[in-house]
């Protein structure tokens, strides 16, 4: 081997591995958020690499809102079994008891209870002092400003005006009692980097990313997949088969599909090169109001 300089992807990979190791070495009870999406798949792959030949020295946490795509849950369980990591599943039982759903209670209240509050519950229950997430700075404007090691106070809130300076790769990992850290090892990756890495490393991802015929309904220009019988159909509305795929995955009633023929990774990457919309457009929670993501983050949303 005569290579002396790392390629762009190799450099990103090494940086992420260094961050993951720093978490394992510096915190008492770290946990990795596992959302089952492509970024989580990349994060899991990086964690396996970071600690090899040891097992991943922290558990993975999935906050199950009960409205995830069925294929996501199947993929999650398959992956946990194949790689043998500790998987913690958490659902907000108060929300389940009250029958909280995105149809009757609105996307914002539903997300607040089943996602934000559920995450806080799970983090408090596990007494986790560091939670690793797969957010990237190219996703959204407030994320572009977040540190890699992002400090949270005792109520999990982010103070964007008072972030710790973060120089070189010398991360300040120290916490006072009750405080915690959110850590974003793939902060510096772009969506294109994620896809090319998945392709070159042959990383398994949920099949929902690939175009297939799926039952959908179209509402105000957004294609919603009818994943189970809980989706209430409007009068006269009837699901129809369309060849669609997802650029981002979440709760099926809140995740828009795109019409696409891209059925494998090369086609997805080529399609993305030509695409003219950003990936979070498919997420209905972001477009509520300007600054909505920042507000959610201050309240403790990941």
């Amino acid at each position: 081997m005569t290579q002396t300089r790392l390629t762009h992807l190799q450099a990103l990979e090494a940086e992420s591995i260094e961050i993951l190791r720093e978490v394992a070495a510096s915190f008492e009870r770290p946990v990795m958020m596992y959302s089952i999406g492509k970024d989580s798949s990349v994060l899991l792959h990086l964690a396996r690499k970071a600690f090899y030949p040891s097992r991943i020295p922290f558990p993975l946490l999935h906050v199950d809102t009960t409205f995830k795509f069925r294929e996501m849950i199947a993929f999650r369980d398959r992956t946990a079994e194949e790689y043998g990591f500790d998987l913690i599943r958490h659902t907000n039982q108060d929300g389940v008891r009250d029958g909280i759903n995105p149809f009757d209670h609105g996307s914002s209240r539903y997300t607040d209870i089943m996602k934000t509050a559920a995450l806080r519950q799970a983090l408090n229950a596990g007494k986790y002092d560091a939670a690793i997430g797969g957010a990237r700075r190219d996703e959204e404007k407030s994320r572009a400003k977040e540190r890699i090691f992002s400090h949270r106070n005792a109520s999990h809130a982010w103070d964007p005006k008072n972030q710790r300076p973060e120089l070189w790769r010398t991360f300040n990992t120290r916490l006072n009692p009750g405080e915690s850290m959110r850590v974003f090892p793939i902060s510096n990756w772009t969506e294109l980097d994620v896809w090319t890495y998945i392709y070159s490393e042959n990383i398994p991802i949920v099949p929902l990313y690939f175009a297939r015929p799926r039952p959908v309904v179209e509402r105000s220009g957004t294609l919603i997949m009818v994943d189970d019988e809980r989706l209430p159909l409007l009068p006269g509305e009837r699901p129809r088969e369309e060849v669609v795929r997802f650029r981002t995955l979440g709760c099926y009633p809140l995740t828009g599909a795109i019409r696409s023929d891209a059925a494998d990774l090369p086609s997805i990457i080529m399609e993305m090169q030509a695409s003219r919309t950003s990936e979070r457009e498919g997420r209905l929670i972001d477009s509520d109001s300007v600054g909505s993501m920042e507000k959610k983050k201050q309240e403790g949303y990941f």
Partner: protein, 624 residues
């Protein structure tokens, strides 16, 4: 026909061949940094349809270019920034051209956010320093440029923005460029170019503008595509920082970390910095298979051929090219906290994966960021830059920052709040002999105390058994230790079992007991310690004796006033029970009197507040 995979592989290969340039934009408020980055994203076709639509909506009532867009909205992410029209924190942006990939750190202009600008600079190869053509070089322009040189950014482009607002006047541009070059000359940048642009109108961004025929340099983007900034880190001395000891089972022990610089191969001899012990690299492990050689930037796991003591923070190098290993060094420090830095205060220092207590031992001078002149100072305020000497509690491995930023840059952390207070660049290590000039002064109490950064004193707790003396003293000791002070508790347990184990409980023995404890307290205070004495000391006469022995050492008598019935109900050691049963004689409060102090400095009411609250009150009153 080529398969899609072949096309993709070709395309991927092209992507891989592109080099990456990390740069930051800095300069004063309203110089148009965010607008410039928005323009770069827009011109490189990275603004997507949905973003463009929401942008046009938001640009209403704002200053816009021909495209009808306020470009700064693309990058000013935080709601507070949109309201105030300023940039608070570093925003990272990504774009690429056919020739290069770029990561841009858009950093804040306001003076109070200088620390965020340093954050952006620490990982950048190049900086765009923006100035408003109407205003020229400002204080903040100079401050940022100085910090760039301190952080070690080697390449600078002076972007004279809003050139359209001075009617594309050549004289204005040349005057500003000349002024900046004169200022920046001592800062030692490797390259310095000046470009006249209008970010709002797109002049000299992608291609030379027809409005500035007098400018014959490259437009901004072509310049950024071509400039060579890369240092070959693999050609430098080998440095490997151990982050995490990898021990899945008894058969495998590896050291996981990143190669900061240089290369390493299987069979190489290496030295462990902390112990100077040699070993040989037997394996370079990754999940993709073992490597025979690894280069700067790679995250790997090294296995050594023998059992040597290596832990997190250790630095491995090749013999003959070892890093410095010392507990004293000179450094340049940027202060980033509202609370000023003082010599003598104790902080936590993190360098690589090493974290150690450290003290600023000497503040040599402060550098005026406007004139680069040096002046004497007794503290370092927010956003100031100073040259200091620092002593660490134990030796650390490091290189001069100029030689290796990853092994020569450090941060200082507050021991109580855990905030990041400052960032430093090591200039050179100091040997002990260079630093301690014994002939200049006698070693006395003041000198020893100054080394510890504290005033020695004796705090004497008196009160009944079970009154809470020891709990309060313990909490106070913890707090003082967390603040980096050196304190020690003397109490019945650690004195009666050793020094005074020959003494009984007769009145003569009790006086001798107190005399010895007071003498030990005085010696410890003379050595520079804060001494917390926790003794029942029931007699006024004994306490007066202790005060006399202390002499000129600050002596504080603290009476922990807890009623007997409360103490007896607590009875933490079961002593009251035994005394009541007659098993212990001469027990204070039962069959021996307690003379309440007539004139103590402080009284704590042990029945009314928790020990933690009392310890906090005491800490405040004692003004440590």
């Amino acid at each position: 026909m080529a398969s899609p995979n072949t096309d993709l592989d070709l395309w991927l290969a092209q992507q891989t061949d592109k080099s990456l340039l990390r740069f930051l934009t800095c300069g004063s408020v309203d110089d148009g940094k965010s607008t410039l980055i928005g323009r770069l994203l827009y011109d490189s076709q990275l603004v997507l349809d949905d973003q463009l639509a929401s942008l046009k909506k938001e640009s209403h009532n704002r200053i816009v270019g021909e495209e009808g867009i306020d470009f700064s909205l693309l990058v000013d992410g935080l709601a507070a920034e949109r309201e105030q029209g300023i940039t608070i924190d570093v925003a990272y942006r990504f774009f690429s051209t056919d020739k290069r990939k770029f990561i841009v750190a858009d950093t804040p202009g306001h003076e109070q956010y200088t620390r965020n600008m340093a954050t952006g600079a620490s990982n950048a190869d190049l900086a765009l320093v923006l100035v408003d053509a109407r205003k020229g070089v400002l204080t903040q322009t100079r401050r940022h440029s100085f910090i760039l040189s301190l952080i070690g950014v080697k390449h600078v482009v002076l972007v004279v923005n809003k050139i359209d607002l001075v009617d594309y006047d050549r004289a204005v541009f040349e005057r500003i460029a000349a002024e900046y070059r004169a200022f920046a000359e001592p800062l030692g940048f490797k390259t310095l170019a000046a470009v006249p642009v209008s970010a709002l109108r797109g002049d000299n961004i992608l291609r030379p503008s027809a409005h500035t025929p007098w400018y014959d340099g490259a437009a901004l983007v072509p310049y950024l595509e071509e400039i060579a900034v890369s240092e070959d880190r693999s050609a430098q001395s080998f440095r490997f920082t151990v982050q995490w000891v990898n021990r899945p089972d008894l058969d495998f022990r590896g050291f996981s970390g990143t190669i900061a610089s240089g290369t390493v191969a299987v069979g190489d001899d290496v030295l462990i910095a902390s112990s100077r012990k040699p070993a040989r690299v037997s394996r370079i492990v990754t999940m993709d298979g073992d490597l025979t050689r690894a280069v700067a930037g790679q995250a790997v796991t090294l296995v050594l051929d023998r059992e040597v003591d290596v832990s997190r923070g250790d630095v491995l190098s090749h013999p003959g090219e070892t890093p410095e290993f010392s507990n004293q060094f000179q450094a340049r420090l940027v202060w980033m906290n509202e609370e000023a830095a003082f010599p003598g205060r104790s902080y936590l220092l993190k360098i690589g994966a090493q974290t150690v207590p450290a003290t600023i031992t000497d503040l040599k001078y402060r550098t005026n960021v406007n004139t680069l002149e040096r002046s004497a100072a007794t503290k370092i305020d927010l956003n100031e830059v100073a040259t200091v000497t620092i002593a660490t509690d134990k030796p650390i491995a490091f290189d001069p920052y100029a030689a290796n930023a990853l092994t020569g840059g450090f941060i200082l952390i507050d021991r109580l709040s855990n905030a990041t207070l400052g960032a430093g660049a090591i200039e050179f290590g100091l040997r002990r002999a260079q630093n301690l000039t014994y002939q200049n002064f006698d070693v006395n109490r003041e000198v020893r105390a100054r080394m510890k950064g504290q005033a020695p004193r004796i705090v004497w707790f008196t009160g009944l058994s079970g009154s809470g003396k020891s709990s309060i003293a313990n909490l106070l000791e913890k707090r003082l230790t967390a603040e980096g002070r050196h304190a020690y508790i003397l109490d019945g347990d650690n004195v009666r079992h050793g020094l005074n184990k020959d003494l009984g409980f007769t009145e003569a023995a009790r006086v001798e007991n107190i005399r010895r404890v007071a003498e030990v307290a005085r010696l410890m205070a003379d050595a520079g310690l804060v001494v917390l004495v926790s003794f029942i000391s029931p007699f006024e006469k004994e306490r007066r004796l202790a005060r006399e022995i202390a002499g000129d050492i600050d002596f504080t008598e603290v009476y922990v006033d807890t009623p007997l019935d409360v103490c007896e109900a607590r009875d933490p050691k079961g002593l009251y029970k035994k005394a009541r049963a007659g098993e212990i004689k001469n027990f204070t409060g039962i069959d021996s009197p307690f003379e309440a102090p007539s004139n103590p400095e402080l009284v704590l009411h042990g029945a009314e507040e928790e020990p933690a609250v009392l310890a906090d009150q005491l800490h405040g009153w004692l003004k440590f």
